[in-house]
């Protein structure tokens, strides 16, 4: 039986972190499940599902030396998660506009009310310091259909929003 724990590492980005962390987990019989790593700002961020029979404290003690070497903060939670629990995304949403406060909140609140379950989200700030451009990409499940999502954000006039069904070909 798997013992899933969620390991989070955050700190200043530099090359070699993933390799070093993976190696120390492997050597200590901690197996990697699903993971997502992203450079945000100049920061290294990763969340990884780790299958490890010991306690959260034991897992932390394995990771702490390598985290310290790279100047990362580490955090572990025992989770109820498991593998093979994917939800199928059926809608893709992209949105952009001049950067302004509240852009994510206003759009995602309306989309949630119209049945959107967000499965993945990336936001970025492009443009320049003086003229920032906010870009957001979402994939998710539209429980009430794509048209309900379109209607929900129809009055957000200062944003460009594209909502498209995501098709998956199985063969």
């Amino acid at each position: 039986m798997a013992h899933w724990q969620m390991l989070t590492l955050v700190g200043k980005d530099q090359p070699g972190i993933v390799a070093a962390v993976s190696a120390v987990l492997y050597k200590n019989n901690a197996n990697l499940g699903e993971a997502a790593m992203q450079r945000l700002g100049a920061n290294f961020t990763i969340m990884m599902m780790v299958d490890y029979a010991g306690s959260a404290e034991d897992l932390l003690s394995i990771v702490t030396p390598v985290a310290a070497r790279f100047g990362l903060k580490e955090h572990v939670d025992v989770i109820e998660g498991r593998l093979h629990a994917h939800l199928q995304a059926d809608v893709s949403i992209s949105l952009y506009g001049a950067d302004r406060a509240g852009i994510v909140a206003s759009a995602t609140e309306r989309l949630a009310q119209a049945g959107l379950h967000i499965l993945a989200l990336h936001t970025d700030v492009a443009g320049t310091e003086e003229k920032p451009v906010f870009v957001m990409e979402i994939s998710g499940h539209a429980a009430q259909g794509v048209e309900a999502l379109r209607e929900a954000v129809d009055d957000l006039d200062d944003l460009e929003i594209h909502i498209d069904p995501l098709q998956t070909m199985i063969g």
Partner: protein
């Protein structure tokens, strides 16, 4: 007719190149029927290739007609299919009966010209686009021992010229 077992990765047969069909006989007809039944028994499958059931022959079935609003040629039995022209590129999501529980992004040609023989050996030509063209490219890859896993790109990756 029978629903056949679908081979899953890492079965080595999935990485083999399949041989051309030379006999258009009753055993080919039976293979096509079994393939179709197996495809329809799978979850949401719109295509299947003979190597996926362990038969190393160049036979695929494609039928995307169940998907609403998609240009299609109906149920197709494609024997010795050959893609003769590729045009345009488009990213899309694919899964595979032989790779359970994984969806990935793959770049495919948007339009293809396809030549294939039918179940009786007659030669047919098709102009295909979009979803149907994607299904055919996925299945023809199976005949050449390629999985969609061999063509994965990042969801955020820029489109770049086809490399094959």
């Amino acid at each position: 007719m029978a629903i056949l077992d679908v081979l899953t990765y890492p079965d080595p047969l999935l990485k083999q190149v399949a041989a051309p069909v030379t006999e258009f006989d009753s055993s080919l007809a039976r293979l096509a029927e079994d393939l179709e039944q197996t495809m329809r028994a799978g979850p949401g499958g719109v295509g299947i290739a003979a190597p996926q059931v362990g038969v190393l022959l160049r036979v695929v079935i494609v039928d995307v007609s169940s998907r609403p609003g998609i240009p299609n040629h109906g149920r197709l039995v494609l024997v010795n299919p050959e893609i003769q022209r590729w045009k345009g590129m488009v990213k899309g999501r694919e899964g595979c009966l032989s790779v359970p529980d994984f969806i990935g992004t793959v770049i495919r040609a948007e339009h293809i010209t396809l030549q294939a023989q039918d179940i009786h050996g007659g030669t047919q030509q098709y102009q295909m686009q979009g979803y149907e063209a994607r299904a055919v490219q996925h299945e023809v890859d199976h005949l050449d021992g390629l999985l969609f896993l061999d063509r994965l790109v990042s969801r955020h990756h820029d489109l770049k010229p086809r490399q094959s």
